[in-house]
């Protein structure tokens, strides 16, 4: 069904490029169900705070960077419990709660200096202050409310620990696999829809964002994973080179045979990248065999070398930068195959 494919593509392009939001949404809903069941069993007037705190605290886990998820969740939960208690006590003094909320707002916005994720977590804590301080309540209600926030915090910790707990090795594996498949997709778009600049820009931007995310997520100790990212970056440049050559060949209406070989080579490279991505993501998928690609590469080089003598000076100058890159393609693809075998250590 083409419309379903278009819808799916729209979702990936504009809403969820990382493919993690359905998990986050399900996790939130499960936590909310537990919170609803819990607050029904309490029958306290302030019991709805359980649901409120569960949903909000859980979001800091969803939003945080993989390395900081648990730290962020625990800090947000603890801050929420303390600040709800304080804001509930001072809620009856309008000016004091005004100043208090102004200070927490200042902190939550200023934390953007460090990172937007930290600021997000602080903003969620700020909402606890705002709601707790908006209506003046009795001492009993304050205690009930604080206990409910604590319960919500515990529910969110429990759900995060049980439902798709995000382990760093899994995240790294996923990020690497995503980058490989995005590179393959970019290359395919460059080959098949080279006039559609918007489609190319969307895929290129998604790939760049993915690389940036990888750089922010993978710890420096993970040398093998870093090497993998470097190989992907080198391959990105080489793929751009291949497409530059393709454009040159088309623009000058020369060397039809080389052009044809290049198209085949690119198709095989795209396939190879996609297969590597699948292999890294799902270990039960066998690793692709690179021998056919190497054979195609050598055939292409042979054709190129045969025709090199017929190039004029202008053509030599234009081709030479890119062709040097292609000569390194074999090495990089071999490295990629070797590294993808070693990625098994991450499981």
């Amino acid at each position: 069904m083409p419309w379903l494919k278009t819808l799916q593509q729209f979702y990936v392009d504009h809403i969820d490029p990382d493919g993690i939001q359905p998990f986050q949404a399900v996790r939130t809903v499960v936590a909310a169900v537990l919170a609803i069941l819990f607050y029904h069993s309490l029958s306290w007037p302030q019991a709805y705070w359980v649901l409120f705190s569960t949903v909000l605290i859980l979001q800091t886990y969803n939003a945080a960077a993989p390395k900081q998820k648990w730290f962020s969740l625990l800090m947000t939960g603890a801050s929420a419990v303390i600040l709800t208690f304080i804001a509930s006590i001072i809620g009856k003094y309008i000016l004091i709660i005004g100043v208090f909320f102004a200070i927490t707002t200042f902190i939550s916005v200023y934390l953007n200096v460090i990172s937007s994720n930290t600021a997000n977590a602080a903003f969620f804590v700020n909402l606890f202050c705002l709601y707790a301080g908006s209506v003046s309540v009795s001492w009993n209600d304050t205690v009930e409310r604080t206990i409910c926030v604590l319960a919500g915090f515990l529910i969110s910790v429990m759900v995060c620990a049980c439902l798709w707990p995000e382990r760093l090795p899994d995240t790294i594996r996923l990020i690497i696999a995503q980058n490989l498949s995005r590179l393959s997709e970019l290359s395919r778009t460059l080959s098949e829809r080279y006039h559609d600049t918007k489609a190319i820009a969307v895929r290129r931007n998604r790939f760049i964002r993915g690389l940036q995310r990888a750089r922010q997520t993978i710890p420096s100790e993970e040398i093998q994973s870093w090497q993998m990212i470097h190989q992907i970056e080198y391959l990105y440049e080489i793929i751009l080179s291949l497409h530059e050559i393709k454009k040159l060949l088309e623009a000058h209406h020369i060397l039809i045979l080389i052009h044809k070989e290049l198209s085949i080579l690119l198709r095989r490279l795209n396939w190879l990248l996609r297969q590597f991505s699948l292999h890294i993501q799902h270990t039960n998928t066998p690793a692709p065999r690179i021998s056919k690609f190497i054979y195609l590469l050598r055939t292409f080089e042979k054709h190129y070398n045969n025709h090199f003598k017929s190039f004029n000076n202008d053509q030599i100058l234009k081709f030479i930068i890119y062709m040097d890159n292609i000569q390194k393609l074999e090495r990089y693809v071999n490295n990629l195959a070797e590294l993808s075998k070693r990625m098994e250590y991450l499981s």
Partner: protein
């Protein structure tokens, strides 16, 4: 030890921005003042669910006027649509069980549309979130849902958005052009760093290759995020956007060309590291000289210019030595050409001037 280091880095970052020139600091101060003012305001007028005013005012208050107007508009229509849908549902559904199921469904939708990204229109994120809030109130609060509450939610949002907009205009206002100029300076520095990293590759500095690649990706990501300024500036400029739109297209083209030029240098640097022939060094040296000289012209900061000149001279000596060792004549270098760097910089300056003139109404 590691924790202390991280903490020190955080504190250093916070300290470095603690002045009125920093956009982060200005925005934080503005948000704090708006938050402070909104609390007595809703208490004084005894607004139903008045905390919604404060929350809206804090959320819509962005770093620039254009960004605030954009977010306010999106939040306003998102909330309006959300509460209308929720009110419509509440007219027919009275069972607590069904309401709880609906809350779960809309919670799923709220987090299905990532609320932390600007990939989609913020209004779409607010629709399910508003529905959840209205349904939650009807479930939990002693105030049962009625038309008055729906109406209150609507005017609370309007007042909050209005307060946020007023705050952005009156308290430490920042226009898009300020932030644009700020990030351009940052981008200029990044481009310089990238150029230095490429030069390091020629000088065979260890790990220069990886550093250059990291910088390249960083620059591409920065250029990517800069696109928001064009969108936000339209909210500030109103009808005077045509000029800006033309420049936008040119700017993007030039950015691409600059990236291409750097990319070409990058490729050549890598080839050089692999041990290339003298024949290939000639056009390479010429390319570095051309790009470097024109890039040099575009630097405003003296320190950067001096270190850049020093690096170029060192590089020239290094490459000339290689050529001499192989009994080749030194190249006659040409210092004239229009490189994308100079042109890009020129365009950027003109662009900022144009925005200034358009916004000042000259």
């Amino acid at each position: 030890m590691k924790l202390t280091l991280t903490l020190n880095t955080f504190l250093e970052k916070l300290r470095s921005h603690a002045n009125l020139k920093s956009l982060f600091f200005r925005r934080a101060l503005r948000s704090a003042i708006v938050a402070f003012l909104s609390i007595p305001l809703y208490h004084f007028f005894a607004l139903t669910q008045g905390y919604w005013v404060t929350m809206t005012a804090v959320i819509v208050g962005q770093s620039t006027i254009g960004a605030t107007l954009r977010k306010s508009f999106q939040r306003f229509w998102g909330t309006l649509l959300g509460i209308l849908i929720a009110a419509f549902l509440l007219l027919f559904i009275h069972s607590y069980l069904y309401l709880e199921i609906l809350v779960l469904v809309f919670l799923f939708l709220t987090y299905f549309f990532n609320p932390y990204s600007n990939l989609i229109n913020y209004g779409f994120v607010v629709i399910p979130a508003s529905i959840v809030v209205v349904l939650l109130i009807s479930l939990m609060s002693s105030e049962k849902i009625n038309p008055a509450i729906v109406y209150a939610r609507f005017y609370d949002t309007a007042i909050g958005a209005g307060l946020g907009i007023l705050g952005t205009f009156l308290i430490f206002p920042n226009k898009v052009k300020h932030e644009f100029a700020h990030t351009q300076r940052y981008l200029e520095k990044q481009l310089a760093d990238y150029f230095f990293a490429i030069m390091d590759m020629f000088l065979n500095t260890p790990h220069a290759d990886r550093q250059a690649m990291a910088k390249k990706i960083h620059i591409e990501a920065t250029l990517l995020s800069e696109y928001q300024f064009y969108v936000e500036s339209k909210y500030e400029l109103h009808f005077k956007t045509s000029l800006f739109q033309q420049e936008e297209k040119r700017f993007i083209e030039l950015s691409e060309r600059t990236a291409q030029r750097l990319f070409s240098l990058h490729q050549q640097a890598r080839n050089h590291m692999m041990g290339e022939s003298v024949e290939k060094l000639k056009p390479l040296l010429l390319n570095i000289q051309k790009t470097g000289f024109l890039y040099l012209q575009s630097f405003k900061e003296k320190d950067l210019r001096e270190s850049f000149t020093g690096l170029l001279e060192e590089l020239q000596r290094y490459l000339a030595n290689i050529l001499q060792q192989q009994d080749k004549a030194l190249l006659q270098l040409h210092w004239h050409d229009i490189a994308p760097f100079a042109e890009l910089h020129f365009i950027l300056i003109r662009l900022i001037d144009d925005i200034t003139q358009a916004t000042d109404g000259k």
